[in-house]
């Protein structure tokens, strides 16, 4: 986690596993895509859960903890995705994103603010020049139940309004009924509509049920050109769990080993405490490696997490426990 304790990064010799041979033409047809996705090795459920649990017991203290808390703050996609969002709420959230703790200028800013498309102009206006990016959900978030034309219009709308990043949802119905090519083509189309904006692909792992499906969906999203794979919308429980993040981190690691392209991971939903966030950072370091310990490659979708990180930070600075009274409500 920190320079003083972390072992040197392991040199990865790019292996060419048999199931990844000829990756270029797996998306050529529906049949080849299905063959590839079903040819991925199955996830050892017990093993994945045990490993996630074991890594979660790592003790991160003092200097390493301070470093991890600041890193986690810089990785946050500060999110508000409610029907009751107002321009005022978005402005307040943006202010918090740029200066999480007004009484302490040493607190770093967060990575991005994540809002619904119609709130993008407000966020862009407030955040301009601050270095905090604007992410927008699109493609009929959170269900994704709309025609492709509507999804693309939704995406273009957000991009035109100035969103730097687009969080799309995949069509879980199509995925679960085995129409992988349809999901693939949809992601490719949205990717095109994004232009220069980064594309995060939300798999909604809570609806995919199994880790095998999470692994397949991860590969599908990466093959289709997603810049990030994201666990959940935050509207479905379970959202981001450690084992599912582990499976996705393995997928991005293997994908880079195979193709040379690095894809980011974003767990979202259910990460509320500094402890949870640090567990995820340990998982990143131990699974994908420290190349991913960077806001460009790992994000955490959250809202209440930020206050807990700030409280922990204050505790470390002052030596006494802090309370929610001293941080903004959101």
């Amino acid at each position: 986690m920190v320079a003083t304790t972390a072992p040197p990064p392991v040199e990865r010799v790019a292996p060419q596993p048999p199931w990844a041979a000829g990756l270029s033409d797996v998306t050529a047809s529906d049949a080849s895509l299905r063959r590839f996705l079903h040819g991925l090795p199955g996830v050892d459920q017990v093993g994945a859960e045990a490993r996630a649990t074991m890594l979660a017991t790592r003790s991160i203290k003092t200097v390493a903890k301070a470093w991890a808390i600041d890193l986690a703050i810089t990785m946050i996609d500060l999110t508000t995705l409610e029907g009751q969002d107002t321009p005022g709420k978005v402005r307040a959230l943006c202010a918090k994103a740029m200066r999480p703790d007004p009484s302490d200028p040493t607190v770093p800013r967060v990575a991005a603010v994540c809002v619904y498309p119609d709130m993008v102009p407000m966020a862009v206006q407030t955040l301009s020049g601050s270095g905090v990016r604007v992410a927008s959900v699109a493609t009929a978030f959170p269900s994704g139940r709309a025609s492709l034309a509507v999804k693309l219009a939704d995406t273009r709308d957000a991009v035109t309004a100035g969103a730097d990043e687009i969080d799309m949802v995949i069509d879980r119905g199509a995925f679960l009924s085995g129409r992988y090519m349809q999901v693939h083509e949809e992601i490719v189309a949205v990717r095109e509509a994004c232009g220069n904006a980064h594309l995060k692909v939300i798999l909604e792992t809570g609806e995919l049920v199994t880790y095998d499906n999470a692994r397949r969906a991860s590969w599908l999203a990466m093959l289709a050109g997603g810049d990030f794979i994201k666990t959940s919308t935050g509207k479905i429980s379970p959202a981001a769990t450690l084992p599912v993040t582990l499976v996705m981190l393995e997928a991005v690691r293997d994908f880079r080993d195979t193709t040379g392209r690095q894809v980011g991971v974003k767990p979202a939903g259910g990460i509320r405490t500094a402890k949870d966030a640090i567990k995820h950072l340990v998982l990143v370091n131990e699974t994908a490696g420290d190349d991913w310990l960077d806001p460009d490659w790992f994000r955490i979708g959250a809202s209440s997490l930020l206050n807990d990180l700030l409280m922990q930070r204050t505790k470390m600075a002052t030596g006494r426990y802090s309370g929610p009274d001293y941080f903004t409500l959101d």
Partner: protein
Amino acid sequence: MSERIDVRKTYKLYIGGKFPRSESGRSYEVTDAKGRFLANAALASRKDARDAAVAARAAFPGWSSATAYNRGQVLYRVAELLEGRRTQFVSEVAAGEGLTARKAEALVDASIDRWVWYAGWSDKVMQVHGSANPVAGPYFDFSVPEPTGVVAVLAPQNSSLLGLVSVVASAIVTGNTVVVVASERSPLPAVTLSEVLATSDVPGGVVNILTGRAAEVAPWLAAHMDVNAIDLAGAPVDSVTDLQVAAADNLKRVLLPRLDDWTATPGTERMFAMLETKTVWHPIGV
């Protein structure tokens, strides 16, 4: 028939309506007044105090917004359960404080009566402590008492049940939630009280009971920015000033220890010490 083997007890903490072991994994031996082993009790750490404060904060909105009538009913029900555990309390108080059974019985009876007495105050505090204020303007001006929030309570060291009941009931009856550090030398009545509370209608987190050393845990509670008041009844004598200094950071209400005779009529002071006053200026016919 062979002789029965004792079931040796290792008690746990009471936090948020659950009975966790100390996060530190530590425990200590509780002995009676003559030094004979009674049971093992959990030795709470600062992180247990932290968890307890979080649980108390979480329970505060629900408990403080319950109607006074409802809080009173809930507390009366606790008194009924205390009565049901009377013999257990008597033996624990007698052993812990080195008293005869008769004296212990008198203390336990007084404790239950004390609990009932405080329960009765729930719907009377506002009449007695609140007021309608005469003002020179077209306003109906009135002041009402409100609970201060999370109260850290260092329970008296020498009165393991009557003293404990006096400091806990006086704080929660008005809607506060508490983190209690029980008497270090005789914590068993506090442990039994937590078992009573767990089976009563008091929501989890309203009362959290830690056993262990006040000297270890109290500084963390006194400095905790999310604790609104601290009752130093059982604070180590030499640390009272330090605890007051630590408590000043967020302007906690501090109740200083005095030479309390816990058997005397308590009066309203303890209750009123943990209240805030809200004054409303309500415009009237202009």
